[in-house]
């Protein structure tokens, strides 16, 4: 079968590989009908996530049809022929983390937990197509994919919904939603969102859905900001204005009550010297991540506010504003999204028309065009916001 594989930093290729087979009793094999490229895939391609190996199949946002089930799957839970969306964290459903609905911290799903533990102190869940640190699982940018613990994660899609309407339940919609949910949004809240990529757009939608008084979007790409504006957010272009001053102006000097970092480790800074400083530190591995959005969010947030981090970070950062965070009583919340927790309620919202996930799709391409699609998305060419691949 065809699969999109990592071929070294800045290099993605479409390769012919074997079809997946059942490895564990609770596996399912899915024929992929739609898969998407995620902003966090770019961190892998750019070479910022350790333990990638040449030939790793990429992709953690995918859906399709069940074609084979392992012997351990209850046939009342899942059947061959079912159409399912698959959450990107692999979770067993029976450990203490899963019992607490912390699926992205599943204690059993990562066979390389020993390595993850060395980097993170405690292991993280296995993730599809997201390095060997996250288990070494083949991803879903392929014609077929093996899904472990298929009786826990996959959500059966009701008839009458298109792939495009439900595909993003696999990651970015729940991720954006969790970013807003972690903000405990009150009707009086001003919520600022750093990063108007697909996750940022869904954080904006979710913040509005959860009743925020005002939502602000911070980015540098005019097309992304105008999409955020159409969704009801006030745009701030950080290359044109001073973000903090603008946020103070918008909030009568208080600062946003809640801040969401939807940018993560490869953020850019509006000031060239500051940007160059962190790029240099990252290049020599003095820090692994560039925390511009996080720093700015912490410094901008009103005292006692909440900073919610859903942008992906991998390792270590420099100059974390610990004094601002501590002295002004900020709450920092974070997490890889516990997708399984949000799929069913968000599916309902889609069905009710509260949210339209298709609004972020700008490109639909074949699997063969994946290398080109990665280029468009990475370089923000052709106003690319979200690519859906059709195997």
């Amino acid at each position: 079968m065809k699969a999109v594989t990592w071929a070294g930093p800045n290099h993605v290729e479409v390769q012919q590989v074997d079809e997946p087979v059942i490895l564990n009793e609770r596996d399912a094999i899915i024929r992929v009908t739609s898969t998407a490229i995620c902003g966090s895939d770019l961190h892998l391609v750019d070479g910022y996530v350790p333990t990638m190996q040449k030939g790793d199949v990429l992709g953690h946002e995918f859906m399709g049809e069940v074609v084979e089930l392992g012997p351990g799957i209850d046939r009342n839970r899942l059947r061959v022929g079912d159409r399912v969306v698959v959450p990107f964290p692999i979770a067993c459903g029976s450990c203490n983390a899963c019992a607490a609905q912390l699926y992205a911290c599943c204690e059993n799903s990562n066979p390389n937990a020993g390595i993850a533990e060395k980097v993170y102190g405690h292991p993280i869940a296995g993730l599809f197509g997201y390095s060997h640190l996250a288990g070494g699982f083949a991803g879903g940018q392929a014609e077929y994919v093996r899904v472990p613990f298929a009786d826990v994660g996959p959500l059966t899609v009701p008839d009458g919904l298109t792939d495009e309407q439900v595909l993003f339940l696999s990651d970015i919609l729940p991720t954006g939603y969790m970013g807003a949910e972690m903000c405990d949004i009150q009707p009086t809240d001003v919520v600022a969102v750093w990063g108007a990529g697909p996750v940022g757009q869904f954080a904006i939608d979710s913040a509005r859905m959860l009743g925020a008084a005002m939502v602000v979007a911070i980015d540098k790409e005019p097309y992304r900001l105008s999409l955020a504006e159409q969704a009801g957010a006030i745009p701030i272009n950080f290359t044109e204005v001073d973000v903090r001053a603008e946020l103070l102006e918008l909030t009568g000097g208080r600062g946003p009550d809640k801040c969401i970092d939807a940018a993560g480790m490869e953020a850019t800074h509006g000031s060239l010297p500051i940007d160059a400083y962190d790029r240099a530190k990252q290049a020599v591995r003095a820090e692994t991540d560039r925390p511009h959005a996080l720093r700015q969010a912490i410094l901008s947030c009103r005292s006692g506010g909440i900073v919610s981090v859903i942008g992906a970070y991998g390792g270590f950062i420099d100059k974390f504003p610990v004094g601002a965070w501590m002295n002004r009583g900020l709450t920092l919340r974070s997490g890889q999204c516990h997708v399984q927790r949000y799929m069913a309620p968000l599916l309902e919202r889609i069905q009710r028309g509260d949210i339209d996930p298709t609004r972020v799709i700008t490109h639909t391409m074949s699997l063969d065009e994946a290398p080109h699609a990665y280029d468009l998305f990475k370089n923000k060419q052709d106003d690319c916001l979200k690519v859906v691949l059709k195997p």
């Binding site: 594989t5 190996q53 030939g55 066979p111 390389n112 288990g135 070494g136």
Partner: protein
């Protein structure tokens, strides 16, 4: 006897082989620095300040000491580096002998003092080098690990107590056969492809709480283990704590076993416990495309790429998972 008591008893009077090496290493660095930084002080103290050639000799001795120090502190083979110090002592004694033959009076007295000091140091170095050789020959290795399993204590205890289950999560074991309620026969794959087996007996069995066992007879690697089960504060889960002590023999077998467990032997027990947790909580040992055989610290990196296995890889991995191919594949 608990594992802790066993270790205390057997380690009495033994010094950690690395400890002497480190002490001598720092001493060498100190002496080397002193020789290089204040050569004239050394020349006066040893009574050779009348010789122009001694300027160079003292500096060379200093440089050599730095090499000893670096080797002892950062080198792999402490024993070999300890012997280089003995060699250095011999050179120093020979030089002092030459100097002694040519001097009288106060200088000679100082030289006699210096020779005495070097002789005393030589005795320490020889003892350390021989000691390093001996500790390498036979030592105890103690492994510990702990995990929390979301299953009732009685169930976790019962799974472990049925010793035939152990090879399901302890990758180095091929099989455990229960002979009667106390006695069992264990079979493992030795690191260099030979199968070793031994008899074991349960020496303590407190239902739902604690199991202790030890090897009996002439086991090639004598061992002792305990596992305790306690209720976690959540009232649902069980905390499992394991302690295994291996009495590593000398020679090739001991060296190979030590190598098998690697530089972080605890990782082995931790990995075993992770698989135990997976088996009890999920009913299976989790595999990925990159880790076809499940998590095994020694075989973790580099892994095969995270893409579906070829049929031949799958056959081999399946055999490996069943423990039938461990000897050829992982050793």
């Amino acid at each position: 006897m608990t594992a802790r008591q066993y270790v205390a008893q057997h380690q009495k009077g033994r010094t950690d082989p690395g400890q002497w090496g480190r002490r001598l290493g720092w001493l060498s660095l100190g002496l080397g620095t002193l020789h290089l930084a204040a050569p004239n002080l050394i020349r006066r103290l040893t009574g050779v300040d009348d010789s122009a050639a001694s300027r160079m000799v003292v500096r060379l001795v200093g440089a050599r000491e730095l090499v000893h120090g670096a080797g002892l502190l950062f080198g792999r083979n402490t024993r070999a580096w300890a012997w280089t110090r003995v060699g250095g002592d011999a050179i120093d004694l020979a030089s002092l002998g030459v100097a002694l033959a040519r001097r009288r009076g106060g200088r000679r007295a100082r030289l006699v003092g210096a020779t005495g000091a070097v002789l005393a140091m030589t005795a320490v170095d020889v003892a350390a080098a021989v000691g390093a050789a001996r500790t390498r020959a036979r030592r105890l290795m103690e492994l510990t690990g702990t995990t929390t399993i979301r299953r009732p204590r009685s169930e976790v205890y019962a799974f472990w107590r049925r010793l035939e289950n152990l090879p399901r999560f302890m990758t180095h074991l091929d099989a455990v056969e229960e002979i009667d309620v106390r006695h069992s026969h264990w079979r493992a794959t030795a690191p260099f492809g030979r199968t070793v087996s031994w008899d074991a007996e349960i020496i303590q069995d407190v239902p739902d709480t604690r199991i202790a066992w030890r090897s009996t007879g002439d086991a090639a690697v004598r061992n002792l283990g305990t596992v305790t089960f306690t209720s976690a504060p959540d009232g649902v889960s069980t905390e499992v704590r394991v302690r295994i002590v291996y009495d590593l023999p000398g020679g090739r077998l001991g060296a190979a076993v030590a190598k098998f467990f690697g530089e972080e032997p605890h990782q082995q027990v931790t990995d075993d416990l992770r698989r135990l947790k997976q088996a009890l909580e999920t009913g299976d040992v989790v595999r990925s495309e990159g880790a076809l055989w499940g998590g095994r610290a020694r075989a973790e990196f580099p892994q095969r790429p995270a893409q579906p296995p070829r049929p031949d890889e799958l056959v081999r991995a399946d055999e490996l998972v069943r423990g039938e191919l461990v000897r050829g594949g992982l050793a």
